[in-house]
Symmetry: C2
Subunit: 152 residues, 2 copies
């Protein structure tokens, strides 16, 4: 017996996980950006570069791209501006003339030392909404989803 409604799909964005993920991520990212963008005249890609270089000086632009999940054009532009503003120092690698080693200057480190605690504080405030158990779940769930999203 045929059923006229069998093929009617219902994609309700309000319950669609990829969509909810996107809205949540945008909200959180802009909230964090507000804490530094104006005060330090820093774009999101620039801040991401500073964040990884603060924890791992001497990375190449390619390394930074890998760790931040940005593309190399974005990194190239962010680093160019950071160097121009004397926040990052660039030295050509001794063994490979194509590679530029990057590290924070004193000015760059000062920004890192200012912004990083604010960012961590904001993350903490966000996670305050969750119970300890939920925080654990979130960690596991994100790891699983990220892996699954990779090979989907």
């Amino acid at each position: 017996m045929p059923n006229d409604t069998a093929d009617i799909v219902d994609l309700d964005l309000a319950h669609f996980v990829p969509y909810r993920l996107s809205v949540l991520s945008n909200r959180v990212s802009s909230a964090i950006a507000r804490t530094y963008s104006e005060r330090f005249d820093l774009t999101i890609p620039e801040w991401r570069c500073i964040a990884v270089l603060g924890g791992a000086p001497g990375l190449s632009a390619g390394d930074v791209a890998l760790r931040t999940a940005m593309d190399k054009v974005q990194v190239s532009r962010a680093v160019a501006r950071l160097v121009e503003n004397k926040r990052v120092q660039r030295t050509v690698d001794v063994d490979d003339g194509r590679v530029a080693r990057l590290s924070l200057t004193a000015k760059g480190r000062a920004i890192y030392d200012d912004v990083a605690p604010l960012a961590l504080e904001l993350e903490a405030k966000l996670l305050e909404a969750l119970s300890p158990a939920e925080r654990g779940s979130l960690d596991k769930i994100m790891a699983k989803l990220n892996a699954q999203a990779g090979h989907l």
Copy 2:
């Protein structure tokens, strides 16, 4: 007794929730976009408009903006292109000449009927990585985080 390392912050992006959220969301969104962008020559904002209009015909552009969390400029442009391609129909509201009522044409509905199941399938595949309990947690966690992100 002073402690020299007391102020050294460690912001490791790999464990920073806002950052992980952003990477995950981008991965998932591009995976979905791949299923329709080329085949239907559809941008992400256009698809979002089609998605809400498929479920709720007669919305105004402003309604669409609210439901998709896009800004009105984005919606205006996406709708303009959709109308041009005869995928969406626009009629001036009878009671208010400023408002345009939007709905899918047959062509637009055909796209919706094609893409929506694919999108839902992709969501299902993504969630396959989680246990039923975890799926429930994810739902609650996202609701809580979203609320918290709102007033932070």
